[in-house]
Symmetry: C2
Subunit: 380 residues, 2 copies
């Protein structure tokens, strides 16, 4: 029986993880759950799954969590509370499903406590990839990606010699604006921007899909997770989202991973790794899915992609600056304060003003995080 | 430097293997070559690759091989000669690229001599699968399939626990008659029957593709090679021949293997296994290949498929009887002695008259081979 902590259990990935665990209570025991603000849902999950510890990131929600619990339970609060749960003694695996850079410190705590990591957050790897991966390597901690594309890449190369990889095809649907002219992007209703054709996700990542910043961040994420130069990572569009990524080897063979587009697949895979257990998830039916297509991304229409390759080439704190600027700009867009195309424009300006720190510490990255967010606010 | 024997070097796979080896002379040394009848080509290959031993299956061709050699070389003849070369001491790997059941005894000799096997012949596994695989397992001999579909399956499961496999999707183009009405099959010119849309192959296998017997034999082959019940092997059509096969695991994940449709890929993979070396083969270009399709096989139009599932369910000597009857019927078709649709009809009749021997010996299988071929001649 694997003992599981979920950081960010009220988000889209966290909720799906608990759906998976509910079907497999013989295999998993939830020992810790955390959320940022959603007190009611967190308490409801606790009432059902009975973890030993709960954590709430926003201390002002503490009392609401407490009062919604059916039986009294210890509830920790603030970032220090999340860190304590991330490294709790009895946990075997920590699913990091918080969004944004807020997860960097809990993630590092979990790695420091030598927990196996199921990683659904991409921002921590984008901003602090070399530190996180270096620490995991030196402590022998395995990080199983939960982002569907990276989970697929992980499955394609799990038994292979990393030296024999030639190229990664990082697949994307193209997002909700693939077939819409750029000159009307700013006139679209936010509900159109948030309506992803395949995946139901949180608001932040939905906006990132619309700008294609999400795919760009995934390029950087793949580069750090798999130790590959971004030159060897090519974005390939595949609107049906059946093939979730592919890896080409030096001998010309390509391995691909396919599954019905449902986040429960990579979650289930990561929780069970290295085993493959029987799942009750919907299967691909090729008698109904007779045609799949590929397309190339339009870099002029979606400049976020090139920005990400640029930040990755520069290295140091560039990816952190890019990622934090994006977080803030998306927040402003969702608050109705800036237009859609201003999101990527703002990031571009921040990167122009950024002073790089090569080989940064976590402190440097958290400073850049604050700086980039302030810059976006100032510029917009 | 791997020392390679090629049994059947003048056939389509043999010739492609020598093309691959010619590009990688630093990695491979040819030590033995054999052919059945093509004396001139065999001698020409020997003049270029300088193996220590040559073998010619048809003893009447011995003098022609000898006279076409630039420098004198030992040439063995007949089945005993092929067996000697299959087990020659210095060989590291034996590529079995002969067609038909004639390869059973040389293949068994190579396994007995504990050579790694690159197996391009499917008839030996169809007819004598349990014996061949059982012997390989007990001697710790690795068999790397070269048939493109089985090579793909092998790559999909190489690191996986066999218990976690749920299903194999065995891909096929559908052959040259996929879009042609069955009632005109017998009026087609043999050149139309032999014109495969994707693969250039020998005549026997081209006829097998047209009847879809080839795919049915591959179902039986996969069943023995990977120890899977044929119930778990589904034929899926994919006319572009980009995905060469797929494996579904119990957790719902599907792994697929893709390569540009060229037999040199599986040959190169098998010769290098377990390494992956840099190849100079043509790469898949997704910017040019934007659309791939799937389709279901038409069992009524191509009854050979069901016959193969039937023979596999019966087990024992049924697959051998089916395979040998097919060899003879295809021979009669290619000699212009029977109509195209009679090929599968004849096999069906032979299977009806077949008396099964469960757990057969090699002797039993060779007897069935003779019996089935005689039956076809008698019936046609």
């Amino acid at each position: 029986m694997k003992k599981v902590v979920i950081l960010g259990s009220t988000g889209s990935v966290g909720v799906n993880a608990l759906r998976v665990i509910a079907r497999h209570r013989d295999a998993f025991k939830v020992v810790g759950l955390t959320a940022n603000t959603n007190a009611e849902l967190l308490a409801g999950q606790a009432n059902s799954f009975k973890p030993r510890l709960l954590g709430i990131g926003d201390p002002s929600q503490y009392a609401r969590v407490k009062s919604a619990l059916k039986t009294p339970k210890r509830v920790l609060k603030g970032i220090e509370g999340l860190i304590e749960i991330a490294s709790m003694k009895e946990a075997d695996i920590v699913l990091v499903a918080m969004s944004g850079t807020a997860c960097i410190r809990p993630l590092i705590a979990a790695i420091g406590a030598k927990k196996r990591i199921a990683l659904a957050n991409k921002e921590a790897i984008v901003s602090a990839g070399p530190i996180v991966m270096g620490m995991a390597r030196s402590l022998g901690v395995e990080i199983i990606p939960v982002d569907s594309e990276h989970n697929s890449i992980f499955q394609c190369i799990r038994s292979e010699n990393k030296e024999s990889i030639k190229k990664i095809f990082l697949m994307g649907t193209g997002g909700p604006l693939k077939n819409i002219a750029r000159n009307i992007f700013d006139r679209l209703n936010p509900s159109r921007i948030l309506a992803h054709p395949i995946w139901k996700m949180g608001k932040k990542i939905s906006v990132d899909s619309a700008t294609m910043m999400n795919k760009g961040l995934e390029v950087i994420e793949a580069s750090y997770l798999f130790g590959m130069d971004t030159k060897k990572i090519e974005v390939l569009l595949h609107p049906e989202a059946i093939i979730h990524s592919m890896v080409e080897f030096k001998d010309g063979n390509i391995m691909a991973n396919l599954f019905y587009p449902d986040m429960r697949f990579p979650i289930f895979y990561a929780l069970n790794y290295p085993e493959r257990r029987v799942s009750h998830l919907p299967r691909l039916d090729f008698s109904k899915m007779r045609n799949i297509t590929f397309d190339m991304p339009n870099h002029r229409k979606f400049p976020a992609l090139e920005l990400c390759y640029y930040a990755a080439r520069r290295g140091g704190t560039y990816p952190a600056a890019l990622n934090s600027a994006n977080e803030e700009a998306v927040k402003l867009y969702l608050e109705g304060k800036i237009r859609f195309t201003r999101v990527v424009d703002a990031i571009k300006k921040v990167l122009k003003r950024h002073k790089n720190t090569p080989s940064p510490s976590i402190g440097d990255i958290l400073n850049v995080d604050r700086w980039a967010k302030e810059e976006v606010k100032r510029l917009c």
